[in-house]
Symmetry: C2
Amino acid sequence: MTPLLLDRLLQIADLFQKDMARAFEGTGLTPARVHLLWMLQHAGPSTQQALAQLLEVSPRNITGLVDALEGSGHVRRTPHPTDRRAVLVELTADAARTMTRMQQEHDELNATLVAAVAPADRDTVERGVTAIATHLQALVADAAATASEKTAP
Amino acid sequence: MTPLLLDRLLQIADLFQKDMARAFEGTGLTPARVHLLWMLQHAGPSTQQALAQLLEVSPRNITGLVDALEGSGHVRRTPHPTDRRAVLVELTADAARTMTRMQQEHDELNATLVAAVAPADRDTVERGVTAIATHLQALVADAAATASEKTAP
DNA sequence: TATTGTTATACTCTATAACTATA
DNA sequence: TATAGTTATAGAGTATAACAATA
């Protein structure tokens, strides 16, 4: 009996985690902190509120992560130019370089994954994986909507 | 610019996590505990050592998880028949039923994911995903081997 | 009155190290 | 001497609730 498609995908998810853990081994960074830095690299300087929404995590959690990243010199808190309640979190030059390198490794990993698929199959596989992602997203969004209905009917 | 294959797969991994979180919402179970129960269902009664290896986690961690699951009535510790140092951890009847239901939901989710792919593409997609999983596994195993070489050259 | 971030508190997951009881 | 599990300790990630400053 061949493994289910779902099990293959779960295996891939697990391997990604291991690969990433390896990638920032020795940098002193943790998955949650890298995730925040990654968002910051893509979104640019952001308020902690914005980061909380991007990472789908509580504001309190962001305070802790930013505290740690500030301590390790990866980010800086600067005053928001117009809203004195808020702060802008931004990457330091050093961290920006680190994130550029991670982005390169990310692109390289993508290339090797694509290369692992037979050339004639690539388009079909990309299409299939996209269909699965779309379907899953709808499933999860549906479940979330149903759940919030129960809270506020 | 279409998203990278890698990003699609990461998105799928993220959606799995959300879907699972939803699945055991209200059961009082957490991802780590469900993972242990899942292993137990597939492996049958096991020593804590065995569970530590299956979950790739420290023995101390297993003690904590089993303590919690014993407290909530999901598992039972019984003496090992031949080794008086060891205990066997096994599912209670109640938890066994819960896990059977989860297994069904798992199979149903797999079916809907397969259904999301165009019938003509299914074989190709399964082949591609398998190739990616195999490639990634080799990558991670390689990295682990290189790392342990550094520790013990 | 609503929003931004922080302090206070607590729980889960995880790890390493030292220790006990058995092999 | 080595192995199975536990106690002790510690740190990261996460959450909710109460609060201060500002909008």
